[in-house]
C-alpha cells in the first residue's frame, strides 16, 4: 500500500485547506494580487480549492503606477481566464488627492505609500480577510508570521502578541473594525514555488524569464532603467541579459543576470544560487528590521 504524497502535493493540500477555511470563516475576503509569482500561485491554488465553483474572493491590486507593463497585461489576462473580479487601489490617485506624499531623493520609492493605499482599499471594500502571498522563508520577520494573522483596527501587526496556531485549527475571530491577513503559502520556499509551477505548467509573466533589458548598477544591485527612477550622472545605463526573481515596483526590484529561459532552468538556477530572492530588493535594505517595521504598520 502506498499512501504517500510528495512535498509539493502536501503543501498544495495545506494551502487549499487554508483557502477553504477562509471562505468558511470570513464574510468578505480578498486576494492581494501583486503580479508576482507568489500571488499567481495563490490565485491558481484558489481556483483549485473551489473547483468547479468560482473563486469566492475578488483580487485587489495596489498599483503603484510604477509597475512593469508586462505585469498589468498578465494580470488582466489572468482575471479573464478564471472569471475573477479585480479591484485596483491606485497610489497615483492617492498622491494626486493628497492622501499620501511622494518620497523624494535618489532611492525614492512608492513602496511605503502602498501601505496607506492598501489599508484604505481594505476599509473601502469592507474586506475582513486579505490573502497575501508572503512566505516565511523570504525574510526573517515573515518567518514569525501566522497563517491567520490578526490586525487591529489600525491595520497594525503586533508580532509579540500573536495568537498561537496549533494543528490545523485556525482562529479567525475578530472584533468590529479588525481584519485578518491570511498567508496560505507560508510554508513554501522559493524552490517549492518554482517546482510546483513547473509541475502544474502554470503560465507566468515573461519578466521571470531571461530577456535583454536596459539596466544600471547601484550598490551592487542591477536595477531596470525606467522613467520612474532617478539616476546619478555617473550611473551608466547598459544592456544586459537579465530576469526578475521577484516582481515589484520598477523602482525597487533588482534584476539578475541570467540565461534561464524555462521554468526548469530557473529551478536549476534557484537550486544553486547563493543569494536570497529578496537580496535584490532595495526596500528591504533600508535597515536591518525594514520588513518588520513596515509589517507592523500594515504592509503586506
Amino acid at each position: 500500500m502506498d499512501y504517500h504524497i510528495n512535498h509539493l502535493r502536501e503543501l498544495e493540500s495545506e494551502s487549499i485547506f487554508i483557502m477553504r477555511e477562509v471562505a468558511a470563516q470570513f464574510e468578505n475576503p480578498v486576494i492581494l494580487f501583486s503580479g508576482g509569482k507568489d500571488s499567481i500561485l495563490m490565485t491558481y491554488l484558489a481556483v483549485k480549492a473551489f473547483y468547479p465553483a468560482r473563486v469566492p474572493f475578488p483580487l485587489l491590486h495596489i498599483d503603484t503606477g510604477h509597475n512593469f507593463p508586462e505585469t498589468i497585461e498578465f494580470r488582466d489576462d489572468l482575471v479573464n481566464k478564471y472569471g475573477l473580479k479585480l479591484t485596483v487601489g491606485s497610489v497615483q490617485e492617492a498622491i494626486e488627492s493628497g492622501m499620501v506624499t511622494e518620497e523624494k531623493g535618489l532611492n525614492a520609492s512608492r513602496n511605503l505609500l502602498q501601505t496607506a493605499v492598501l489599508l484604505e482599499s481594505l476599509e473601502k471594500g469592507k474586506y475582513d480577510a486579505a490573502l497575501g502571498g508572503g512566505r516565511r522563508d523570504e525574510e526573517k520577520a515573515r518567518a514569525k508570521e501566522r497563517f491567520f494573522s490578526h490586525r487591529d483596527e489600525f491595520g497594525q501587526w503586533d508580532p509579540k502578541n500573536q495568537r498561537p496556531e496549533l494543528w490545523n485549527l485556525f482562529n479567525g475571530k475578530k472584533s468590529l473594525g479588525e481584519h485578518f491577513r491570511i498567508f496560505p503559502i507560508s510554508n513554501w520556499t522559493e524552490l517549492d514555488v518554482w517546482q510546483y509551477l513547473a509541475m502544474e505548467n502554470v503560465p507566468l509573466p515573461s519578466l521571470y524569464f531571461s530577456h535583454k533589458r536596459k539596466v544600471f548598477k547601484r550598490d551592487g544591485i542591477l536595477l531596470a532603467d525606467s522613467e520612474f527612477i532617478f539616476k546619478k550622472p555617473e550611473e551608466e545605463v547598459f544592456e544586459e541579459v537579465v530576469r526578475c526573481r521577484t516582481i515589484g515596483d520598477m523602482t525597487c526590484t533588482g534584476v539578475w543576470q541570467s540565461h534561464a529561459q524555462t521554468v526548469q532552468e530557473i529551478i536549476e538556477e534557484v537550486a544553486t544560487t547563493h543569494q536570497t530572492e529578496r537580496g535584490g530588493r532595495t526596500d528591504d535594505k533600508r535597515s536591518d528590521t525594514a520588513m518588520e517595521d513596515r509589517k507592523k504598520h500594515g504592509y503586506f
Binding site: 499512501y3 504517500h4 510528495n6 512535498h7 509539493l8 502535493r9 502536501e10 503543501l11 493540500s13 485547506f17 477553504r20 468558511a24 481556483v47 483549485k48 473551489f50 473547483y51 468547479p52 465553483a53 508586462e70 497585461e73 498578465f74 516565511r136 526573517k140 520577520a141 518567518a143 508580532p159 509579540k160 500573536q162 495568537r163 498561537p164 496556531e165 496549533l166 494543528w167 490545523n168 485549527l169 482562529n171 475571530k173 475578530k174 510554508n187 520556499t189 524552490l191 517549492d192 517546482q195 509551477l197 513547473a198 509541475m199 505548467n201 502554470v202 503560465p203 507566468l204 509573466p205 515573461s206 521571470y208 521554468v263 526548469q264 544560487t273 547563493h274 543569494q275 536570497t276 518588520e292
Partner: protein, 431 residues
C-alpha cells in the same frame, strides 16, 4: 501571445518524490540549539550569501566574536535585542530526499505554550542535551511535551561532545539516564546521536572523532526516519469544511463536500455514515481540479460527492458505518493554558474549535495540574495559569465527534477561545 510563457514539456524534475518532514526543536541560549540549526542550514547549503553577510555584519555591530548563527533564527527586533527566541520561528531546508520544516521554539518554562505550538504538527522532536550537564530539568520538560503532543519520533542529540573529549562513556551514561526517565513517558521511537554542533561532528558528515559510534548522522536520521505511517490510515474521518455549489449550467446539481481527510482511506462507492444525522449513503465521486480520484487519504484536500441528497454542512463528519468516532458532550482533555490575562475559570464558558466544528463549552472540573518537570500530578493547587498543563473536564453545548488524541492528532485535538477577547487561550488533547 508574447507575455505568457508556456512551460511545456518540462521533464519530471528530481524533487518530485521529496517527502515533507516537520520537526520541532526546543532549547535555551546556551545549549547550542541555534548553532545546531545554523549548522544544518549551513552544511546543507541552505543559507544564502546575503543572509550570511547580514548576520556577520549584525554580529560585528553587536561586538560579538565570530558569526552568531543564532541571529539567523531570531528575527524580531526585541528577540535580537534580548538575545532570546520568544516566538516560534519556522525555518526551511531541503535535500534531494526530503524537505524539512523546523519549528524552532524557546526552551524556557515561561514559553511552554510556544513549545506546544511548535510540537503540534511535528513528526520528529529534536531534543538537545549538553554532554557536560547530562539530563536536566529542561530536557525532561521537552521530552514530556513531545510525549503529551504525541510526536511520533524523538531524536536526542547529545551535544558538545568536543568538550568531553568525544568520550563514549559520557554518551552512554546520558543515554541510560534519559532512557530510565523516558520509560515513564508515552514515546515509542527514541534515537540517540552524539554530536558537536559547533565542530560539525555527526551533523551532516560522520565524525572522525567518535569511531565508537556506529549509528547515523543527524541529517541521515532526518532523511530516513520512517514517517509514512505517522498519519492514521485506519479510521476514516472526513470533517466537512465547506460545501461547494457552483450554481452554473454545467454543474447545476453539483453539491460537493470540500475538506481534508483527517483519517483512513475513502474510495468511490464506499458506504459512509454522516454525523450527526446518522444517515448512510455511498460516495458517488471524489473530485478535484485535476479530475476524479479513486481514493483519498490524509493529508489530501479533496471534494466528496454523495449518492443521496442529505443534510450535511460545515462541522459535520463523514465516517464509515462500522468505524465511528466517539460522540459525546463530556470531553476529558489534557489542556495547556495559553491565556495571559486570566487563568482558566471553573464554570467559565469558552468557544471550542474542533476539526471544522465550532461549539461552546463549560469548564466543569480540573482534575489535576501536571508538573511538567516531573510528571507528578498536583491535586492541591489545580489553578491553570499561562503555560500550565492539567487534566480538565469540559461539557459542550453540542456533541463532538472525536477520537482520542493518541489515535488521531486531528480528530483528537481542540482549542479554546476566550469569548470576550477572541484570543486562543488553550490547546487540548482529548483523552
Amino acid at each position: 501571445m508574447t507575455n505568457q510563457h508556456d512551460n511545456q514539456s518540462i521533464p519530471q524534475h528530481t524533487y518530485a518524490d521529496t517527502e515533507l518532514l516537520r520537526f520541532s526543536t526546543a532549547g535555551s541560549v546556551d545549549d547550542g540549539k541555534s548553532t545546531l540549526i545554523g549548522r544544518l542550514l549551513y552544511d546543507s547549503k541552505s543559507i544564502f550569501e546575503d543572509q550570511y553577510e547580514a548576520v556577520k555584519t549584525a554580529s560585528e555591530r553587536r561586538g560579538e566574536e565570530g558569526v552568531n548563527l543564532a541571529l539567523l533564527t531570531d528575527g524580531l527586533k526585541s528577540e535580537r535585542e534580548q538575545g532570546i527566541t520568544i516566538d516560534v520561528a519556522y525555518r526551511y531546508f531541503s535535500t534531494p530526499k526530503r524537505k524539512f520544516i523546523i519549528a524552532d521554539t524557546p526552551g524556557h518554562i515561561q514559553y511552554t505554550r510556544n513549545m506546544v505550538t511548535g510540537a503540534s504538527t511535528a513528526n520528529v522532536s529534536l531534543i538537545l542535551i549538553d554532554a557536560r550537564n547530562g539530563v536536566v530539568e529542561q530536557t525532561r520538560r521537552h521530552a514530556i511535551i513531545a510525549s503529551l503532543l504525541q510526536i511520533p519520533h524523538l531524536v536526542v542529540c547529545i551535544n558538545k561532545m568536543d568538550l568531553v573529549d568525544y568520550g563514549q562513556e559520557h554518551f552512554e551514561r546520558i543515554k541510560d539516564e534519559f532512557e530510565k526517565f523516558a520509560s515513564k513517558l508515552d514515546v515509542s521511537d527514541v534515537s540517540f546521536i552524539p554530536i558537536s554542533a559547533l565542530k560539525g561532528d555527526n551533523i551532516v558528515n560522520r565524525s572522525k572523532n567518535m569511531n565508537w559510534y556506529e549509528g547515523p548522522t543527524l541529517l541521515y536520521y532526518l532523511e530516513n526516519v520512517h514517517i509514512a505511517s505517522d498519519h492514521n490510515f485506519i479510521d476514516s474521518r472526513f470533517p466537512v469544511q465547506h460545501v461547494l455549489r457552483p450554481y452554473n449550467d454545467d454543474y447545476h446539481d453539483y453539491r460537493g463536500y470540500a475538506g481534508r481527510v483527517a483519517g483512513g482511506i475513502f474510495k468511490k462507492g464506499d458506504e459512509v455514515m454522516l454525523l450527526p444525522s446518522g444517515f448512510t449513503t455511498k460516495i458517488s465521486k471524489i473530485d478535484s481540479f485535476d479530475g476524479e480520484m479513486d481514493k483519498a487519504f490524509p493529508p489530501q484536500s479533496v471534494t466528496i460527492l454523495l449518492e443521496d441528497d442529505l443534510d450535511l454542512s460545515r462541522g459535520d463528519m463523514i465516517v464509515r458505518p462500522h468505524n465511528q468516532p466517539k460522540i459525546s458532550q463530556d470531553i476529558e482533555v489534557m489542556l495547556c493554558w495559553f491565556g495571559q490575562d486570566k487563568p482558566i475559570q471553573i464554570r467559565g464558558k469558552y468557544t471550542v474549535l474542533h476539526t471544522t466544528n465550532e461549539v461552546r463549552c463549560l469548564v466543569k472540573d480540573i482534575r489535576y495540574k501536571l508538573d511538567i518537570n516531573t510528571l507528578s500530578r498536583n491535586q492541591e493547587d489545580k489553578s491553570l495559569h499561562m503555560n500550565d498543563i492539567g487534566r480538565v473536564v469540559l461539557r459542550t453545548t453540542k456533541p463532538l465527534y472525536f477520537d482520542s488524541y493518541r489515535t488521531n492528532r486531528i480528530t483528537g485535538s481542540l482549542i479554546l477561545i476566550d469569548e470576550a477577547t477572541n484570543n486562543t487561550v488553550a490547546a487540548g488533547m482529548i483523552i
